[in-house]
């Protein structure tokens, strides 16, 4: 089945025709037997119980697809979301990361109705903008008695430090979001406003991308209003805000990879084409804000912030915050940088404002706002407070100041004890609480268990300030409640989402950001080095951890094969290999301890070195560290890379199960990991731009590969063994680095130390040889920006060159000879130690030159009087 039934959608037909068609079909044809839930307003059905025309086309198309195809497309959608790394982090724990939930049935709204909603939203954004300007300016709302002074003065979001700060342009409020539900009368009703750093626009974009891929024809034929115009406006607005006269440098400020909406930050930064930075990537110097880029400081003109305002500046705002940029507010005040939304805009999120909105509308606009807000009672008002106490069970209780981890509660659902405690809190600080009437939301069909079920919804809209007014995203993010009765939908509470389709009467012209990107960024401008140095550092470490994991995995595979081989290893050869495992994992004492003898002890230690994440140096620990680094640089990774990382994460999670003690051929369980790591390396070669980011990733890789090779040789070939054991060990080393076949082909002889060293150390044709890796490292270092500017070799260049020549000049025949007194190959050991030292120096020098060694800052005078 497919959805290529080239039907004209209903919305494109003249109204009369629609009606007549509907009549001829005779009554509501309900796809999958979809029925509205009794007592709930449903999006599909009109008040008389008839299906609305614009839903029929969609439902018929879904019906035509059939259960299997729909289920299949839902799986496809989930896969795309997962591959895109679309997650919503529930907590600091990486395993609490949830794939973003998307229901394959979109919410439909007709153009005509939407234009009413849209004008209401524009008006509301204008009104909130006026309120914001007033609160941080003349405060007429207070002086003229429009709102009680305490409403503003007691709110934690009222940042007195921001008084009088203005940004260029007509509007101060750049982004405004509204959560609304359709109430029983069929009208949209606002339940809350988001003015701080509204999230969700990126998720709406992701939902749209996925839906248009999974239902291409249905989407095309439905003439859905496109979202790109909204983002286009956002880009233009941010560029227009630039206070300095150069080309604007805009950055997206994120609290970091642990933020619940981090995926969205990476998505927006990439879609809009801005660097994604954390507070510590920025610094204030000489009265400007700068980004710590690889080749020095880059001035920042506009900051699109996703960090709550209170955390943005430890000097003037919350002094213990490490998420912001110390000194930021003063630069904003002096007009040298613009932050959107402005610092202080959190004051508008006070839900108690909704109570006074009609009065505020009359004061500023001469009329009440068109879009209604939910009935709101502010406990700071004595009679409202009494009403709240009297009707507690019927109301939703909220704090006036939104905090992480705090949710609205439904009075009637609290236990007697919880209720008592909440009442005490309200009595102690009434100004901090509001109560709202419960607005029963409308429902729409959701795809659940192979059928369509009515689920309640909340629509979040997005407004962005334009040059003259506000532009509203056509549609927005629809969130779906999990149960169909009393519900307070929040994405934090594990609800899912829908794409929102505003149906146009005719196809829309396509607008893409791409063209604009090119013209604005200017072709040929080298923005390569605009990488925050934190990103370069994480790419460097991502490369190093990946190679560490791979080196250990390869050796472990060999060891499993050899230890379980039919020809038993001699104890000497076995112990040499096991000690090499300890050396490569650096997880001491491991096999250097004297108490590991029995096969089961050996197996236990080997398995621990794979799956025990708490053991530094284990495969799991290295992979986890690699994944953590990759999270920090998410925005620089391709979709394919993202997919491989997902696979790795999954394989890692399954490892503990597949590798229970006694598992036959445990080496096979390691194959998927090795394959994934190779795919990762391949992707960076095949599909990553040869920019600074790539260079740092590859430097990390080559440096680590060379280093691991020296460790392996040191652990296996320095001590002289009897010839049979030595052959076994050397064979194992060649097997580990996948060179045994090449070796046999080339030398057609019994393995022997000098030719082994030849292949492993200096063979230029062997991509795993020490010399090959050192040469590659040398090239990468030579390509770094610093190197091209300075005269002569950089320090890290010298250090690598020295390692390279040391290996080149080595006399292999001499290296193979062991020292009679010690019974070991002293010269070989000396050479390997020299190379190791030089590589460590190189790593330190790179780190010193390019990475930011951030230090926590602290207060000049310790204070403990912070609000909250």
């Amino acid at each position: 089945m497919n959805d290529d039934s080239r039907q004209r959608p209903w919305s494109s037909l003249p109204r009369q025709q629609q009606q007549s068609l509907q009549q001829t079909q005779g009554g509501p044809a309900s796809a999958f037997g979809y029925m509205q839930s009794p007592g709930l307003t449903d999006e599909v059905y009109d008040p008389r119980g008839e299906q609305r025309g614009h839903w029929q086309y969609l439902l018929n198309s879904l019906q035509a697809l059939g259960v299997d195809a729909l289920a299949d497309r839902q799986r496809k959608a989930l896969r795309i979301l997962r591959d895109d790394g679309a997650t919503y982090n529930l907590s600091m724990e990486p395993q609490a990361r949830r794939t973003w939930g998307l229901d394959p049935v979109p919410l439909l709204i007709e153009s005509e109705e939407w234009s009413d909603i849209e004008s209401g939203l524009v008006e509301r954004a204008e009104l909130f903008d006026l309120v914001l300007k007033d609160i941080y300016g003349a405060r007429q709302l207070i002086r003229r008695g429009v709102v009680p002074p305490e409403l503003i003065f007691s709110h934690t979001g009222f940042l007195r430090q921001c008084h009088g700060v203005v940004m260029p342009g007509e509007h101060q409020l750049i982004l405004h979001s509204v959560d609304m539900v359709r109430n029983r009368d069929g009208a949209m009703c606002v339940i809350s406003d988001r003015t701080q750093a509204p999230s969700g626009a990126g998720y709406a974009l992701e939902n749209r991308t996925v839906m248009s891929r999974v239902f291409p024809s249905l989407f095309r034929d439905s003439h859905v209003h496109r979202l790109s115009m909204f983002f286009q406006t956002l880009r233009l607005k941010l560029a227009a805000l630039c206070p300095n006269d150069d080309m604007p440098n805009v950055v997206v400020l994120t609290p970091g990879a642990y933020s619940e909406t981090y995926f969205e930050h990476t998505l927006l930064a990439n879609y809009l084409g801005y660097p994604l930075v954390q507070g510590s990537d920025l610094t204030v110097r000489g009265g400007h804000v700068w980004m710590k880029a690889l080749d020095g400081l880059k001035r920042v003109d506009v900051i699109l912030r996703r960090v709550d305002d209170y955390y943005c500046d430890a000097v003037e705002l919350r002094s213990d915050s490490q998420l912001g940029v110390p000194g930021l507010l003063d630069v904003v005040r002096s007009g040298r940088v613009v932050v959107a939304n402005p610092l202080g805009s959190g004051v508008l999120e006070n839900s108690a404002l909704l109570k006074y909105l009609p009065a505020i509308g009359k004061f500023f606009l001469g009329r009440e706002p068109q879009l209604r807000s939910v009935g709101t009672y502010w406990c700071g008002d004595a009679s409202d407070c009494q009403y709240v106490f009297d009707h507690f069970d019927e109301l939703i209780i909220k704090s006036t100041f939104r905090r992480a981890g705090e949710h609205s509660v439904f009075g009637g659902e609290l236990s007697a004890d919880q209720k008592l405690r909440l009442l005490e809190r309200i009595k102690a600080r009434p100004q901090r609480f509001v109560a709202q009437n419960y607005e029963s939301p409308s429902s729409a069909p959701s795809w659940v268990d192979n059928g369509l079920v009515p689920k309640p919804l909340v629509l979040r809209s997005f407004a962005v300030a334009d040059q003259s007014a506000y532009t509203i995203m056509p549609g927005g993010l629809t969130r779906v409640g999990s149960n169909d009765d009393k519900m307070i939908i929040s994405s934090q509470l594990a609800s899912t989402s829908k794409d929102t389709w505003i149906l146009a009467s005719e196809p829309e012209k396509q607008v893409s950001l791409l063209k604009d990107n090119v013209s604005q960024a200017g072709i040929g401008t080298d923005r390569d080095m605009d990488l925050p140095s934190r990103v370069a550092e994480n790419l460097f470490w991502m490369g190093r951890y990946a190679e560490r994991a791979e080196a250990l995995l390869r050796l472990l595979r060999t060891v499993f094969i050899q230890v379980n081989s039919i020809d038993p290893l001699s104890p000497v050869a076995r112990d040499t290999l096991l000690r090499a495992v300890t050396r490569i994992s650096t997880s001491y004492p491991g096999f250097t301890a004297t108490n590991i003898h029995t096969p089961s002890d050996i197996e236990k230690e080997l398995l621990a070195l794979i799956i025990d994440e708490s053991r530094p140096g284990s495969v799991a620990a290295n992979l986890q560290a690699m994944l953590t680094s990759s999270e920090e640089v998410k925005e620089t990774l391709s979709a394919d890379t993202q997919r491989v990382l997902n696979d790795l994460r999954d394989s890692l999670a399954e490892l503990a199960d597949t590798l229970a003690p006694g598992t036959p051929a445990p080496e096979e369980a390691l194959d998927p990991l090795v394959t994934a790591l190779l795919a990762l390396a391949g992707l960076s070669h095949a599909s990553m731009m040869r920019g600074a980011g790539w260079r740092f990733l590859e430097m990390g890789r080559t440096l680590e590969k060379a280093y691991q090779m020296t460790c392996l040789l040191q652990a296996t070939l320095v001590a002289e063994l009897d010839s049979a054991d030595e052959a076994t060990v050397l064979e194992s080393v060649l097997l580990t680095v996948e060179m045994l076949v090449s070796y046999r082909r080339r030398y057609r002889a019994r393995v022997e130390i000098t030719s082994g060293l030849q292949l492993l150390m200096i063979d230029q044709a062997n991509p795993r040889s020490l010399l090959f890796q050192l040469g590659a490292l040398q090239n990468h270092i030579g390509d770094l920006p610093e190197a091209s500017q300075s005269v002569g070799l950089s320090l890290e260049g010298r250090s690598t060159l020295e390692a390279l020549t040391t290996v080149q000049l080595a006399d292999l025949a001499l290296l193979g000879v062991s020292d009679e007194a010690s019974g070991s190959r002293t010269l070989l050991n000396q050479l390997l130690v020299t190379v190791q030292t030089l590589l460590s120096n190189t790593a330190t020098l790179i780190s010193d030159r390019y990475f930011d060694h951030r230090v926590e800052h602290h207060q000049l005078v310790a204070s403990r009087w912070e609000d909250e």
């Binding site: 430090q161 008084h163 009265g287 800052h857 602290h858 005078v861 912070e866």
Partner: protein, 296 residues
């Protein structure tokens, strides 16, 4: 009356500080009763960025950053301030104006801007929480039909009598209930205490920071707190305005109190606040204040 004030702040760090951003309320503001004729700040090492502005409360703020490594930081502010006769000491007789009950009623009903804006100062602030203990301590002075100002004067006197002035007994972070319990503190604590009492009863009160004349006139006693910054408070009486009281010296500020800044509490008017990078984990702070009368 004209005063010259020299306020020196000096930090010595054990480890050099790489970077610092600071702001301070160090320059006297203008008020109905005083005019700052001149004020000048010198920062050593030389600051990269030095900005002056007026804050939300109308106070003068200077903001500066030092962006090269330094082992000490010195800030000297020299100001010349003229006090006029706007503030007078009514002596013991404060029995006029709003009674306590009238004041509370007018706070609720008056719609003039001054009263509406003063309601900000009834609310809790970062360092001052209202409490039943504070209310209970203050209540006996605030009988309904007593004039608000004489009640506040009585509270000022009681704090002076009941509490011991003891430098070092508290820090900037000592909570108010501890001060109330231990009955000792410094001028900042007494100002906070009085404000906490007034707010617990529903009256607007604000924190005033400033200086006292250092060298006493012949035959008069040197006032307490004169060798550093000083602090007192003001109360608002609807329709009548703001009135200042000094619980540390049991008097009404007139000709020897020079105001620097006011706000909801100390945190709004901290003399110097900031963030430093690297070093400075342990530091030696020296502060000295000289207030000299230039002209009667």
């Amino acid at each position: 009356m004209i005063y010259r004030i020299r306020h020196l702040t000096h930090y010595n760090y054990d480890q050099p500080v790489a970077l610092c951003y600071n702001y301070g309320h160090l320059m006297p503001r203008d008020a109905a009763y005083q005019q700052c004729l001149e004020s000048h700040i010198t920062v050593n090492p030389y600051p990269i960025n030095l900005q002056h502005r007026t804050d939300y409360f109308g106070n003068k703020v200077c903001y500066f950053s030092v962006e090269n490594r330094h082992s000490s930081l010195e800030i000297v502010v020299e100001s010349t301030v003229r006090l006029n006769d706007e503030r007078t000491d009514p002596g013991v007789d404060l029995g006029f104006g709003n009674t306590c009950a009238e004041a509370l009623k007018k706070l609720r009903t008056n719609k003039d801007e001054e009263t509406l804006l003063a309601r900000e100062y009834v609310l809790r602030s970062p360092m001052i929480d209202v409490s039943e203990a504070l209310r209970a301590y203050a209540a006996p002075s605030f009988r309904d039909n007593v004039s608000l100002l004489s009640a506040v004067r009585e509270l000022t006197h009681r704090i002076y009598t009941d509490f011991t002035y003891q430098p070092g007994s508290t820090t900037v972070a000592t909570p108010l209930n501890e001060v109330l319990e231990k009955r000792r503190g410094v001028c900042q604590d007494f100002a906070h205490l009085a404000i906490g009492c007034l707010r617990s009863l529903g009256f607007p009160a604000r924190y005033v920071s400033g200086y006292l004349e250092t060298i006493p006139l012949a035959g008069t006693k040197k006032l307490v707190g004169s060798d550093a910054s000083h602090a007192w408070f003001a109360v608002y009486s609807p329709g009548e305005g703001w009135f200042e009281f000094d619980p540390t010296n049991d008097n009404v500020p007139t000709k020897q109190h020079i105001t620097t800044a006011w706000g909801r509490d100390y945190s709004d008017v901290t003399p110097l606040r900031g963030v430093i990078f690297e070093g400075g984990a342990s530091q030696v702070l020296t502060v000295s204040v000289d207030v000299e009368r230039l002209q009667r």
